[in-house]
């Protein structure tokens, strides 16, 4: 049953799949109400809102237009539209942003509006969420700043490679700002809180007005003189209107920032547009207090870090020492360290033991040898046997020798002739005529004189010697 249902259920599913694929291919759309997604109105609106509001091209943008249908609401929010000759866009200026505007908007005003495009879901409409409004006159200034920025950028004034690192712990801080402004008070407060011993040198400057930029540039230049020994400069002012911050976007100031050999921090209070000094400085902070925090380390943190390191190395050394002490203790605990004579006594005992063993071994060897010696009689008998055998052999050899003796030969009638010097005469050349010779016989010898010599052939040694002796 189960199998059967499965089998019969399969084909329609496949068919549907094929149908869908076919539809997709032919219409480019997924029309199947089960497989495709159906949005509710709020779902699709949510999706549009997400796409619209996350698009960077529609965020933090400037829009130029004329104010139309302006309403200052009792809640403090300001509603209006912006239009030009071809289009219109709604704008909402919420109280938190609108309250910062230093002038009142009027219908027909030509303005620059800064903000983000947002979607109002209830009405399905989109609008600009306005964060700042500038008059078109200011728009011109803005344009000039953009041009200056482009030129300086081309010159390499904002090159990241030109940026110097800030000192880790500055000894003396230079500040360029108004001596009476909140900026300096804030910097001093932060400095005293973080590092009470910090020395601060202020180069007073005007931070708004026509000659502000010259005084700021002059202050930066002055603090760069080596005799002041300044390690880092903070130059800036508290927040203000676009016009208030203008000096920090002016060429003289931007160039002074980039020329500063001493690391310099731009500290101009701002929310939206940052001044060009931020780009030229080695570091930038959104407020003077933030700049002070960036530049001045917290003394307590440094001390804590130092103490922590000292404790670390101290602990470690203590640990090393105590572990070595422990090892030393382990060694001295041993008996040999407590009683060094122990070693000597041991050696003495060993020595005695060796001595005893050596003596007894010697005794053993001696008694072994003695036993061997006791068996010598047996050896004597062996010796006498050998001797009688040798004696027999000797007498045999003697008999043989006797047979070979010339005496035996002479017994058979041979004789030996010698000259007076008893030298054997073997040839007639060994003796001259008239000389005497001795002829030795088997019994006795004859003294003879040579009367004459007769040549003869050599017939073997015996025969020759017989002839030589000649009669």
């Amino acid at each position: 049953m189960v199998f059967g249902r499965k089998r019969t259920a399969a084909p329609p599913a496949i068919k549907r799949e094929i149908c869908k694929k076919y539809q997709e291919r032919t219409t480019g759309m997924n029309n199947d109400p089960i497989e495709s997604r159906i949005f509710t109105v709020s779902e699709i609106t949510g999706r549009i809102k997400e796409i619209l509001e996350s698009n960077p091209a529609l965020n933090n943008i400037w829009i130029k237009g004329e104010i139309y249908n302006l309403t200052y609401h009792s809640s403090g929010h300001v509603y209006f539209s912006l239009k030009d000759d071809k289009a219109l866009i709604s704008a909402v200026f919420f109280r938190y942003a609108a309250s910062k505007l230093k002038f009142r908007l009027e219908a027909g005003m030509s303005v620059f509006v800064f903000g983000n495009i947002t979607l109002f879901e209830k009405r399905g409409s989109y609008q600009v969420n306005v964060l700042q409004v500038k008059l078109e006159g200011i728009g011109e200034l803005q344009k000039r700043i953009e041009q200056l920025k482009a030129n300086l950028h081309k010159e390499g004034v904002f090159d990241p490679s030109r940026k110097k690192p800030l000192p880790f712990l500055p000894g003396r801080i230079g500040v360029v700002t108004s001596p009476t402004g909140a900026a300096f008070r804030d910097i001093v407060k932060v400095a005293m809180r973080r590092y009470p011993h910090m020395e601060i040198v202020l180069a007073p400057a005007k931070v708004q007005g026509d000659d502000a930029s010259d005084t700021i540039a002059r202050g930066i230049e002055e603090l760069n003189r080596p005799e002041y020994g300044i390690d880092v400069i903070i130059a800036g002012r508290g927040g203000g209107s676009f016009e208030d911050l203008l000096p920090f976007s002016e060429e003289a100031v931007v160039r002074a920032f980039s020329r500063s050999a001493v690391p310099i921090v731009s500290a101009v209070g701002h929310q939206i547009d940052h001044p060009l000094s931020d780009d030229a400085a080695d570091a930038a902070a959104p407020t003077p207090s933030a700049a002070a925090e960036l530049v001045i380390p917290e003394k307590k943190e440094l001390l804590d870090e130092l103490d922590y390191l000292i404790i670390r190395i101290n602990n470690r050394l203590q640990w090393t020492l105590s572990s070595l002490k422990q090892r030393l203790g382990n060694v001295t605990e041993k008996r040999i360290m407590r009683d060094p004579f122990e070693l000597l006594r041991n050696s003495e005992m060993l020595l005695t033991d060796f001595e005893n063993r050596m003596v007894s071994r010697l005794k053993e060897i001696i008694s072994d040898k003695r036993r061997d010696l006791m068996e010598v009689p047996h050896l004597g008998r062996m010796m006498s046997n050998l001797l009688s055998r040798k004696r027999n052999e000797y007498s045999g050899i003697l008999k043989l020798l006797d047979k070979l003796s010339p005496l035996n030969i002479m017994k058979r009638g041979y004789s030996v002739a010698r000259d007076r010097k008893m030298k054997l005469i073997k040839s007639i050349d060994d003796i001259e005529t008239g000389e005497e010779l001795i002829l030795q016989l088997y019994r006795g010898s004859l003294n003879c004189t040579v009367h004459s010599k007769e040549e003869g052939e050599i017939i073997g040694k015996e025969k020759n010697s017989e002839k030589e002796t000649g009669f």
């Binding site: 000192p167 880790f168 712990l169 500055p170 000894g171 003396r172 108004s178 001596p179 009476t180 300096f184 008070r185 804030d186 910097i187 001093v188 407060k189 005293m192 590092y195 009470p196 011993h197 910090m198 020395e199 601060i200 040198v201 202020l202 180069a203 007073p204 400057a205 005007k206 000659d211 010259d214 005084t215 002059r218 202050g219 002055e222 603090l223 002041y228 390690d231 003394k299 440094l302 001390l303 870090e305 130092l306 390191l309 000292i310 670390r312 190395i313 101290n314 470690r316 050394l317 090393t320 020492l321 070595l324």
Partner: protein, 91 residues
């Protein structure tokens, strides 16, 4: 410029010494030598932290155009400079 470099590098050296000691690779003599070196660095850093003066001065231009430092009194709580007779700029 040099002094603060020394503070940072001394702190760095101290850190290195702590790591070296903690590695447990050093014998007693080396450990003591490193420890002494570390204490010297730590003392240098401590001295350096106490060295700077608690002082605020404001540059003032005299009649002949020379710029001089003038030390001013101030309230460390509010950061307010307690001196009314100040020039607003060096120009």
């Amino acid at each position: 410029m040099k002094k603060k470099q020394d503070f940072e590098s001394s702190l760095g050296e101290l850190e290195k010494i702590a790591e070296k000691l903690e590695s447990g690779e050093l014998g007693l003599e080396d450990s003591i030598a490193e420890f002494e070196k570390g204490i010297r660095y730590a003392k240098f850093c401590h001295d350096r932290l106490e060295e700077a003066e608690k002082k605020i001065s404001i540059l003032q231009k005299s009649r002949n155009g020379e710029v001089k430092k003038k030390e001013v009194r101030f309230d460390p709580e509010t950061g307010e400079v307690e001196d009314d007779d100040l020039q607003g700029s060096l120009l």
